[in-house]
Symmetry: C2
Subunit: 238 residues, 2 copies
């Protein structure tokens, strides 16, 4: 019997995943995928790996099709198991969503910490943040992390997630404010700027495919570039 206490620490193990298109008929029990057959680990490692794979499949599905358009049967089918098997790894659907949000916040924090550690003017750091964040979102963990379904979270979890997001927002704004102060960024409203940029990024998770016209790195470069151009100070203007 495995513990189902909060254990969202399983952000590990890269798993190759092909973004699946919605099927009209559930393809009854396809061959088990990825982590589900990868052997050669301790029991606890396997548990963690499988849980992580589950979360990441779900994250991709949620990002691409939305939380409510993704049933647990869908996820289970994609993993090659049946729905109740999922309940061995998570308590309920909400916990999956929560785990996804945790990843999302984690990536944000990572990008932020990186950006804040950089030398240079405010603009440079803001742009670095943007680039790194998009890189992370489009990278290993897939276009998986940015979710919008806060309302489906339990109040307790929602509080945690929203708090994390707010922290990210504040640091982002503060970075922008510093840029305005040091003269590298033109006079923009930090809050609005963050909303503007984050909107683009949130939306990206809905259409981005790693095998599309642009890969993750290119997306990161271009998004960062848009942001940079839209906020950088120019000699000949306010």
């Amino acid at each position: 019997m495995h513990r189902i206490e909060p254990r969202a620490d399983c952000l590990s193990l890269p798993v190759l995943v092909i973004a699946g298109r919605r099927e009209t008929t559930l393809p009854a029990r396809p061959r088990k995928a990825d982590a589900w057959k990868d052997a050669g680990q301790s029991r606890d490692e396997q548990f963690a790996a499988k849980r992580a794979a589950l979360i990441r499949k779900a994250a991709r599905a949620f990002s691409a099709r939305g939380f409510y358009n993704t049933s647990l049967d869908d996820i289970a089918a994609e993993l090659g198991v049946t729905k109740p098997a999922l309940y061995y790894y998570v308590k309920n659907k909400e916990e999956i969503l929560y785990a996804c949000h945790l990843i999302s916040n984690e990536l944000g924090t990572q990008a932020m910490t990186f950006a804040e550690s950089l030398p240079g003017c405010g603009l440079d750091r803001v742009v670095a943040l943007a680039r790194r964040y998009v890189e992370l979102l489009t990278g290993e963990f897939g276009a998986s992390a940015v979710l919008m379904e806060f309302d489906a979270l339990q109040p307790e979890n929602k509080k945690t997630i929203v708090a994390g997001r707010n922290r990210f927002d504040r640091r982002f704004r503060s970075l922008i404010a510093k840029g305005v102060e040091d003269g590298s960024i033109r006079k923009v409203d930090p809050k609005l700027t963050v909303f503007f940029f984050m909107g683009s990024v949130n939306w990206m998770t809905r259409w981005f495919r790693p095998d599309g016209t642009f890969n993750g790195q290119e997306m990161a470069d271009r998004f960062a570039d848009y942001l940079q151009e839209s906020i950088k100070a120019r000699s000949n203007q306010t």
Copy 2:
């Protein structure tokens, strides 16, 4: 008995609406709102007005909380009636969503037609499009129109809506491409630029409140400004 054939022409009649926060308990039957008590019209006019009010309340709710987080009971309660009453005006929930998408597309077309009719360089027209579009979205019809739940539409309707959206996208891209040609816009990828900007706008509908820090007009100005700065050509660069 009233016909329930496709009749999504009811985009009329401004109705004052205060964005309602989600209630844990459904406030049982509050006083009827707005159009529901406005008398002094022919029957057909009343029908149209009420249907329009219904669609617009729903549109706001969908935008703010999402399609699946909004039950018909919610909408009915907000209007001060019971759920079955809604079925007198629409065939089902999907039809409401479809009507919302039609409004959304309509606003896009309006903004686009306006922008294309302008003289001036590509950049000017692109910026005018952005401003007008945000103006419309945040205006009379509220932050109501941009929806993301394409998947909940019937295949037939989905086709229509997606086609409309694609048309908008193409015209938007084409405007950008022209700007690049005439030298007013720097070398950006039109498609990506559209996605970038539309993401911000889509996201805006989730948080914008007319009574917030910025009103609709300010939002329009600032979003247009961000876009302008991010894509305009400069003398001293590529």
